[in-house]
């Protein structure tokens, strides 16, 4: 039995704003990820799936707080991709 098989799966909600909604073609996605992965991994996965994402500046918020990419994820987390703010 490989260790991979005993890993649980996390459900993560992804949110996209501003120009990124056009890049992704959606405002929201639900994804399944293996346990213990962090935001760096998620981000690289997104860049692989949407190469043009690399043309955009964005920060990442975990559960509505902007975080560094080494943050670990857990089941039920909400991860948002935020282009530079432009209120007013």
């Amino acid at each position: 039995m490989k260790s991979k098989q005993i890993l649980n799966t996390m459900k993560i909600k992804l949110l996209f704003f501003g120009a990124l909604t056009d890049v992704i073609g959606a405002q929201e996605q639900m994804i399944d990820m293996d346990d213990n992965l962090d935001i760096t991994y998620l981000n690289l996965d997104m860049l692989a799936r949407y190469p043009s994402l690399s043309n955009f500046k964005y920060k990442i918020a975990l559960n509505k707080i902007v975080v560094n990419k080494d943050q670990k994820l857990k089941d039920g987390d909400e991860v948002a991709f935020l282009p530079p703010f432009a209120g007013g």
Partner: protein
């Protein structure tokens, strides 16, 4: 100085009537001597011979309301305000209409200008809101 959370995000433009109603509501607060108000108005910018017809505002709503709340708390610690209100549009706001209304009220005028500028700058820098400029010929541009 902690004040209750206010709902800041409003659908569509902030109307002049809404603004005058807000001003009128402060006539009972007779310790106020100075109101400083900022209004953001949508410009009909011309880019590459194309006019902005409207701006569509979108926000990460809950995070934005949190950010507005933090700006509010910080401003009350920093400046001697009697009260303060912020209203920001979501959705379509046409060129010439108002999308941001910041309303600072103080006993005396001296600090009201600086408080107003501080709050507007904080909103621009720290609130997750985005705008899509729609042009007359149907194209759009994310700002």
């Amino acid at each position: 100085m902690t004040k209750k959370t206010h709902t800041v995000l409003v659908q569509g433009p902030v109307t002049p009537v809404f603004i005058s109603d807000s001003i009128a509501k402060h006539s009972g607060k007779t310790e106020i001597g100075a109101h400083a108000i900022f209004l953001g108005q949508v410009r009909k910018d011309n880019k590459e011979n194309n006019n902005v017809i409207n701006i569509e505002y979108s926000a990460y709503n809950e995070m934005a309301e949190n950010a507005f709340h933090e700006i509010r708390e910080a401003a009350f610690l920093k400046y001697p305000m009697v009260c303060m209100h912020i209203y920001h549009s979501l959705g379509l706001v046409k060129a010439g209409e108002i999308s941001l209304f910041v309303f600072v009220s103080c006993k005396h005028r001296e600090k009201s200008f600086e408080a107003l500028q501080y709050i507007v700058d904080e909103i621009k820098a720290n609130v997750p809101i985005w705008k899509k400029e729609n042009y007359e010929d149907g194209v759009y541009k994310w700002i």
